[in-house]
């Protein structure tokens, strides 16, 4: 395991921000931590990055203790912090050169800027970059050390959908180049698309750690079959095999249920009764459903 966290507890001002958290990250994976704001994601990542001293429990990153072996650690990990900005009036190449001077064997930043599509911005002021370009720069700065692990805290927050998509490709690319990625996000689809394994954090605790597939299976969530009809006997539909629950919203019917035959059974029932239907769709549970079930909140509340 490239990162191991054991029984991590962080308290400040009497509040337990991180509450007996244990998990580990495998070499070469994209590991994601999701959770609502205030769940303790950033506190946890900052402990692992060696930016916090006041915690109990043990952390090992590449075998090093981030509390006591900080200097060696920072040659091996790259960090992007939430909400960092840079000096006023500094240019892209200047901040890159400055960061290069911190490391014994830095990667050439010109190459990294090229790779991340901002080589043409090398002489621009950092303050003139777009949100997406600035986040790319943050990754470039994190990569100058040629680290084995890269930490990304809320990297895509505040980016427009297009910039976010292209950021995803870059993160996948990092993994292809052998890096381990530890990221926090509160975008479910981002975590679902990128992460090999996901830890869900809520109120200071890690509630579950697994692949998206397993998380969905673990929480025993139902598929939904949705279609439109003009008239239907709901009670009868509910008795169809594999259907557990039926609800109606206007002309739209939603049948929930489990098992491979759910769709087949529902459609057969409709055909047998010669009920005309339209707009049939099947919705499989997503990470978002898992998340909502765990946190017990509606999605809008988490932003």
């Amino acid at each position: 395991m490239i990162i191991e966290v054991n029984d991590l507890v962080v308290e400040y001002k009497g509040v337990r921000a991180v509450d007996h958290v244990s998990f580990s990250v495998k070499e070469g994976e994209i590991f994601g931590m999701i959770g609502p704001n205030g769940a303790g994601k950033t506190t946890t990542i900052e402990c692992i990055e060696g930016l916090r001293d006041h915690y109990s429990g043990s952390i090992r990153v590449l075998g090093l203790d981030p509390k006591t072996e900080r200097k060696r650690l920072y040659d091996l990990i790259g960090v992007q912090l939430q909400e960092t900005s840079y000096q006023d009036n500094i240019k892209v190449w200047e901040i890159c050169k400055m960061f290069s001077s911190f490391y014994a064997n830095p990667l050439p930043y010109e190459m990294l800027l090229e790779k991340f599509g901002i080589a043409d911005k090398i002489n621009s002021y950092v303050s003139k970059l777009s949100g997406g370009q600035r986040q790319r720069l943050a990754i470039v700065l994190a990569l100058i050390a040629n680290p084995q692990i890269i930490f990304l805290d809320e990297l895509s927050t505040g980016l427009d959908p297009q910039a976010r998509r292209s950021m995803w490709d870059l993160i996948k690319e990092l993994q292809k180049n052998g890096k381990t990625v530890y990221m926090t996000t509160h975008f479910m689809e981002e975590a679902e698309y990128l992460c090999d394994r996901i830890a869900i954090m809520n109120r200071g605790k890690v509630v579950a750690v697994d692949t998206v597939e397993n998380l969905i299976r673990m929480f025993d969530l139902e598929d939904r079959v949705i279609f439109r009809v003009s008239d239907i006997n709901l009670a009868e539909l509910e008795r169809v095999e594999s259907v557990t629950h039926v609800e109606q919203k206007g002309s739209e019917i939603c049948a929930r249920g489990k098992g491979a035959n759910l769709v087949h059974n529902v459609v057969s029932y409709l055909n047998d009764r010669q009920i005309a239907y339209s707009g049939l769709k099947v919705i499989q549970p997503t990470l978002e459903d898992v998340f909502l079930k765990i946190t017990g909140m509606k999605w809008e509340e988490t932003e």
Binding site: V79, T84, S101
Partner: protein, 247 residues
């Protein structure tokens, strides 16, 4: 050393890209000298015990440069870096953010020196400026005054949580010192009440020290200034080190 050099070089460029810094540390004092020298000339003046106005003004305005760099530029840069989480970001690298703090001190020290040299050159070229002291003593007096006033700036940086707060505090500290310490308006024209206020302002002692050494006094003649400035330097530095937060 290479790291400190790299940071300092870039930070120096950033300093020079900031208009307020350049104007108030490098241009404004010389403008003031041109105006005052233009009005009064540099002939022996009764008000200044027979010294020329320009000869007295150059060391005084040097204290003005020290104050603008030490009380405004230095703490505002440091607090800004903390607020923008630049210090925190540097903490996540093999170097310690203390490097950027050191580089800020070095740059402001250097630019204060440059400001003084510009004053000197303008005084020499335009007004036949006289330096009556010992160059080494002057350098020591300059260094002590600068570090002492800078330590007040660092003290502000150590406890100011935000840029807004730091700007307010820096202004409150800076403006009385600008007018009531002899850095711009000569204390020679002040009534007793104002003189008493000036005694409470640290920059007064820097002005007196710089002026004294410039006009040929020895360290024993300005011992009080030296002790006050050393005291301020020690106390503020200790408190700031104890208080300083990187984030």
């Amino acid at each position: 050393m290479k790291k400190l050099y790299e940071i300092t070089y870039i930070e120096l460029k950033l300093y020079l890209r900031t208009f307020v810094n350049v104007f108030f540390a490098l241009v404004f004092p010389s403008l003031l000298l041109l105006i005052m020298g233009g009005i009064y000339g540099n002939e022996p003046s009764e008000m200044f015990d027979g010294y020329g106005t320009v000869d007295v003004s150059v060391p005084s305005y040097t204290a003005l440069i020290i104050a603008v760099n030490g009380i405004m530029s230095l703490p505002l840069a440091v607090v800004g870096y903390r607020e923008k989480k630049i210090l925190k970001r540097l903490k996540a690298t093999p170097i310690h953010p203390v490097y950027i703090l050191l580089s800020q001190i070095l740059i402001n020290l250097f630019m204060t020196f440059v400001g003084m040299v510009i004053l000197f050159v303008v005084g020499k070229l335009v007004f036949d400026l006289h330096f009556m002291g010992n160059a080494f003593d002057m350098f020591v007096a300059f260094l002590l005054s600068t570090l002492s006033i800078f330590s007040i700036g660092l003290l502000i940086a150590s406890f100011a949580p935000t840029m807004k707060f730091a700007t307010a505090v820096a202004n409150i500290v800076y403006f009385p010192m600008l007018f009531l310490t002899g850095a711009t308006l000569p204390l020679e024209i002040m009534p007793n009440v104002m003189l008493n206020i000036s005694k409470a302002l640290p920059l007064t002692y820097a002005v007196d020290l710089l002026k004294g050494i410039w006009l040929g006094k020895g360290f024993s003649d300005v011992a009080k200034d030296i002790w006050v400035l050393v005291g301020i330097l020690l106390v503020s530095t200790l408190i700031s080190i104890k208080n300083f937060k990187w984030e």
